[in-house]
């Protein structure tokens, strides 16, 4: 009963404070939480390239047991200035994911944890029921790669920290407003390759991604 009361109060406050529509010249702020699937093995068209770090390990330790998909959690903050049917603005996104890889031929493993802070420009078209957008930008990705490899019966260990300080991403998507809160769908392409010092070969932290989430309008 108490929970229902709180839910009702929050819903009511969201409706009271809600964004009431686009006017000719106004600014809007979005806070969004998204999740989805990111194929780090699929290079971003035009700007990405195939990485070779994991394929070099595959030649020694056998094929990867896992695919290259990761599931990042994304918290984003965007603001826009609207002008008639169009809007331009700026967004900040924090991406975070972990992934473990193992190999077919032995017990070697590679663990990866990455955090990206991405920012860039976004452009909107104001539809009646949906707001399609495109965007692009840069930022940085921090990563920790931990190797535990079997080489001819003996184990070797490696830990590599790194930062991609000039990634590039572009994205397109749509926001579907539902009176204050709404749904956001994003297709994102990111080029962010880190050089892993143990093999001196690049590992992609970006790739091709599809995200789904909820947003709140201020």
């Amino acid at each position: 009963m108490k929970l229902l009361l709180k839910l009702s109060l929050i819903t009511a406050s969201m409706l009271i404070f809600t964004f009431t529509g686009w006017c000719n010249d106004d600014s809007v702020i979005y806070l969004a939480l998204q999740n989805g699937n990111q194929d780090t093995g699929s290079p971003a068209p035009l700007v990405g390239r195939k990485d070779t770090y994991l394929s070099a390990l595959e030649e020694i330790h056998g094929d990867l047991k896992e695919n290259r998909d990761v599931s990042p959690i994304i918290l984003s903050f965007d603001f826009y200035k609207t002008n008639g049917s169009f809007a331009s603005g700026f967004g900040l996104e924090v991406h975070s994911y972990n992934k473990s890889y193992s190999f077919e031929n032995d017990s070697s493993s590679v663990r990866l944890s990455a955090v990206g802070l991405l920012y860039g420009l976004n452009f909107y078209y104001r539809g009646d029921f949906w707001f399609p957008f495109i965007g692009f930008g840069t930022g940085n990705y921090s990563v920790k790669v931990q190797e535990e490899l079997n080489l001819e019966g003996s184990k070797t260990f490696g830990t590599v920290f790194g930062q991609v300080d000039k990634p590039f991403f572009y994205k397109l998507g749509v926001r579907i407003p539902l009176n204050g809160i709404g749904i956001v769908l994003t297709q994102q392409y990111t080029s962010a390759d880190i050089m892993v010092a143990t093999e001196n070969k690049p590992l992609s932290l970006g790739g091709t991604a599809s995200f789904f989430g909820l947003y709140y309008t201020f």
């Binding site: 108490k2 929970l3 709180k6 839910l7 929050i10 406050s13 969201m14 404070f17 106004d26 600014s27 702020i29 806070l31 603001f79 826009y80 200035k81 331009s88 603005g89 700026f90 900040l92 802070l117 920012y119 420009l121 930022g139 940085n140 921090s142 190797e147 490899l149 003996s154 184990k155 070797t156 260990f157 490696g158 830990t159 590599v160 920290f161 790194g162 930062q163 300080d165 000039k166 010092a197 143990t198 709140y216 201020f218």
Partner: protein, 391 residues
């Protein structure tokens, strides 16, 4: 079980509603009328890198695209207080309170098997206080001159216990990497040791106070005010003078060489929001075995509460002062010290929050900086403050 789930959901919803309420009221500010200057705000937080090893070299700070108008002047005084703690010997507990009390030697920087470590090893436990006097002058409506003279102190400081308490409060152990192995060392003690390939570059436990650093001057040229679509753009050039007197502890503050740097800065306004982006490079004249050039980039988001005051969030990335070493990145005996230390040469990032105020005659700026990568090549926490007059 149902009770637990209900309570948990209730707590989550409460927390979420508090966050939403905070953002809701935070952004209820009046829209500003900034006709004709829509791409200019009060500017990013003007804080340079504070890492101890970077202190003798030119440190480029983010800056506004806007310049002072012809004949305008601004005189300011500021202080940047930075707490730095790095113990590369922490994982093997080779440097603890006992070793620092007797004074560190090169043998403390060997690996756990007694071998010389290739690359850099560090034991830095210090609080730096960089005081600065700045004078700016508008040479024309779009060209600004700046002169800055720093006075630097390195001591044990007072912030260690607070930082350790904050770590404990948020679940970070001061005995582990996340807490930088702070618990192994005495609080508020001063030690500055940098070792490269088994040889000391710096070795000091003698505190220094208000040593005059090398001055630098800047020229900033506002190339364009931008418009509805295009951003404003400015180019900043910086020059650090050389003071070859590096006797005693002064070598920790002065490089004795001439350094050059530049930043290309863009800014774009979206009503109450101004976004800044800068990209640049610093060329170090006399690097003393450290990196001979540094690449840096910043992004700032300024929210204008009014014409006179703003809140700023900022992130700055910079390449490391430690060049890539010949350290081996793989080991057959578990994670080695050389592997761990390789993260010292990785580029890193910090985030900053601050507040700016500017009236017709008074200027004030304050904020904090936090290193969120913990690679050991940036300072942990910085508090800064600057105020001045404008005429």
């Amino acid at each position: 079980m149902t009770f637990i789930i209900t309570q948990f959901m209730s707590m989550k919803i409460k927390g979420f509603s508090i966050i939403l309420a905070f953002f809701q009221f935070f952004f209820l500010g009046e829209k500003l009328a900034l006709a004709g200057r829509e791409n200019f705000g009060l500017g990013p937080l003007e804080i340079r890198p504070q890492f101890l090893v970077n202190q003798p070299f030119l440190g480029m700070s983010p800056e506004n695209t806007l310049t002072l108008k012809n004949g305008e002047s601004r005189l300011s005084f500021g202080i940047e207080i930075a707490n730095t703690f790095v113990n590369t010997q922490g994982p093997t507990e080779q440097i603890t309170k006992k070793e620092t009390a007797r004074g560190l030697t090169l043998t403390d920087f060997l690996d756990k098997d007694g071998n010389t470590v290739n690359g850099f090893s560090l034991y830095l436990d210090a609080e730096s206080k960089r005081k600065k006097v700045k004078y700016r002058y508008g040479l024309t409506d779009s060209l600004e001159f700046k002169f800055e003279l720093p006075f630097v102190s390195f001591d044990g400081g007072i912030m260690d216990s607070t930082i350790e308490s904050v770590h404990s409060m948020i679940g970070i152990s001061n005995f582990k990497k996340g807490g930088a192995y702070r618990a192994l060392s005495e609080r508020n003690r001063y030690d500055y040791y940098v070792v490269k390939d088994g040889q000391f570059i710096f070795a000091s436990s003698k505190q220094i106070f208000n040593v005059r650093g090398e001055p630098n001057m800047d020229l900033k040229w506002n190339l364009s005010e931008g418009g509805k679509v295009m951003p404003a753009a400015s180019l900043k050039l910086s020059y650090k003078f050389a003071n070859t007197d590096r006797s005693g502890e002064q070598k920790l503050i002065r490089s004795g060489g001439v350094d050059w740097g530049h930043y290309l800065i863009l800014s774009k306004g979206f009503d109450n929001w101004i976004v800044y982006f800068g990209d640049g490079q610093t060329r170090i004249g006399n690097s003393h075995g450290f990196a001979s050039s540094l690449f840096h980039r910043f992004m700032s988001m300024e929210y204008r509460f009014s014409e006179e005051d703003s809140f700023v969030f900022q992130t700055v990335s910079q390449s490391s002062i430690f060049p890539t070493s010949s350290a081996s990145s793989r080991s057959s005996k578990g994670e080695s010290q050389e592997q761990r230390n390789s993260n010292l040469s990785v580029p890193t990032s910090v985030s900053a929050f601050g507040y700016k105020f500017l009236s017709s005659s008074f200027f004030w700026e304050t904020g904090i900086v936090q290193d969120y990568n913990n690679f050991g090549n940036e300072t942990d926490f910085v508090f800064f403050w600057e105020m001045g007059v404008h005429w």
